[in-house]
């Protein structure tokens, strides 16, 4: 098909154009943004980026977000690994119901949980800490990790477990020494998706903190003087970097991760 190349090119341009516009804006001053319309910055400036890296509100926002995202990823993968193994290897009382219940929490709208989470995390004294957001994001990331890991673990033949146990491996030693290296790519994919879904979430991160996460700081670039477009764009560009850095390694697994390991 000759037409297919043009359709694909048009689609890729449609994807890249808005992103390019954001990058373009981030290198302009506000005067240039509001007075001229140009597809490349006429007087490129790093002023917006310098502002972000020198203003503590901004760089602390990034650090705060990275902290809860990393904490959340570690907790999610840590608890999900043994559970995914149980689901992929054994039948046990209530396993199907439990698996479904986990899925419902992955799918539940964060808007439903915003208010009770605010009450809950205030009551236990974690409000406004990165732990609150890290634990709250577990509601969708733990089920996600369990589902993805279970998908990968089911692809490992069970004979390997049985042989290892016959060779006298204890369960913990088998799990760490033999099994985890076998599902390493699955762990990578699950960690990537936990990282991503925690990084992209706004509502819970905003409700559980006093405007500390980068996403809520970005919603506050509106001041009496209007919106600081250049600064907002520069912050937006910087939030794309974590995804852009690892996208290459997970490119073949994107579909599988979004489909919870079922494709």
């Amino acid at each position: 098909m000759r037409g297919s190349r043009y359709i694909l090119a048009a689609y890729l341009i449609f994807l890249l154009l808005p992103t390019y516009w954001l990058v373009n804006m981030s290198f302009k001053t506000n005067t240039e943004i509001t007075t001229t319309m140009s597809v490349i910055p006429l007087a490129p400036t790093l002023k917006n980026y310098i502002e972000i890296f020198t203003n503590p509100t901004w760089y602390n926002g990034f650090l705060f977000s990275l902290t809860y995202v990393v904490l959340n990823t570690l907790i999610s993968i840590g608890v999900a690994l043994p559970a995914a193994y149980a689901f992929s290897r054994y039948l046990f009382l209530g396993d199907k119901h439990l698996f479904f219940w986990l899925l419902t929490n992955r799918m539940a709208p964060p808007a439903v949980f915003a208010l009770p989470f605010f009450n809950l995390y205030s009551a236990i004294g974690l409000f406004n800490t990165s732990w609150a957001v890290a634990l709250a994001h577990c509601i969708f990331n733990v089920p996600l990790a369990v589902w993805i890991l279970e998908g990968f673990m089911s692809g490992v033949p069970r004979e390997i477990d049985e042989t290892a146990f016959l060779d006298g491996y204890s369960f913990p030693r088998f799990f760490v020494r033999i099994f985890i290296p076998l599902v390493a790519s699955g762990i990578g994919v699950a960690a990537f998706f936990c990282f991503m879904f925690s990084w992209v979430e706004l509502l819970l991160a905003r409700t559980l903190t006093n405007n500390q996460s980068i996403s809520s700081i970005m919603t506050r670039t509106v001041s009496a003087a209007g919106i600081d477009w250049g600064l907002l764009s520069a912050a937006g560009v910087l939030t794309l970097i974590p995804g852009a850095l690892v996208i290459w390694f997970v490119r073949d697994y994107i579909a599988r991760g979004f489909a919870l390991g079922r494709v």
């Binding site: 359709i7 694909l8 689609y11 890729l12 449609f14 994807l15 890249l16 154009l17 808005p18 992103t19 516009w21 954001l22 804006m25 943004i33 319309m37 608890v79 999900a80 043994p82 149980a86 689901f87 290897r89 054994y90 046990f92 009382l93 439990l98 479904f100 899925l103 419902t104 929490n105 799918m107 539940a108 709208p109 808007a111 439903v112 915003a114 208010l115 009770p116 809950l120 634990l135 709250a136 577990c138 991503m196 992209v200 979430e201 706004l202 509502l203 996403s215 970005m218 919603t219 477009w229 764009s233 939030t239 794309l240 996208i247 997970v250 994107i254 579909a255 979004f258 489909a259 494709v263």
Partner: protein, 298 residues
Amino acid sequence: MDKPINNRAWFLVVPVVAIVAFNAILPLMTVINYSVQDTFGNNQFFWNGVGWYQELLDPNAELGGRFLASLGRNIVFSLIVLAIEVPLGILVSLCMPKKGPGVAFCLVVMALPLLVPWNVVGTIWQIFARSDIGLLGWTVNHLGLDYNYTAGFFSAWFTIIVMDVWHWTSLIALLCYAGLKSIPDAFYQAARIDGASRWAVFRAIELPKLRRVLLIGVLLRFMDSFMIYTEPFVVTGGGPGNSTTVVSIELVKIALGQFDLGKAAAMSIVYDLIILVSCWIFYTVMTNTREVRRERLA
């Protein structure tokens, strides 16, 4: 290949159950508790029975009117978005190269919007679509069309729909691409020998293979578009007026804006039940396909 029954496997699941239950069951009980009570402040609560639910489902009441209107808008939004993204995603996946250096490039560019933080998706489109500083808004206005997403009903809807298409079409395309790659070359060769047209190849070979991934894709997109919050919140804030106020935005307004606990809680429960039903369908599809795969292996 039956799995052995072993109830000690529960020990491996306990941490997950503990952490998810802490986050899910306690808050859900709070919500149910609020939904049957009324408050006049000062932490004084009064039993209200199913009062909030009656009001919520009554289109003539203030609460019911708002809920049903936002529900209607959300369903319309989900349907439009699915109607565009699914055919477009299939088309794009069919156009993608099967091998060569172009594959990695396509995959990376297409995955890009999926990994953008949701509020930044809003920011990108806010900046791109504004009539004074955005490339899209500026161009459309200079073509002589009146386009301003903060003021016009159609402009606002157009913006959030194009934004969602930008954000999520790649998901459908990538899922379909994964499905297409699993078709053996021999199928295409047989079709070429039979002299089948492109359309016949699509109908007889590709579409049946895509049925499973498409079902997953459609359900995922339906559920995610049904709980969309951040992107329209950043771009239109639910406006102009209430024209792009979807269920989540309305719910957050009532819960965290007005602090109407009872109303918000009743709305949360009904909203959650709708998601639960969709989720059950999704689960059935997901696990059914696995049974099929297992039968094929046996």
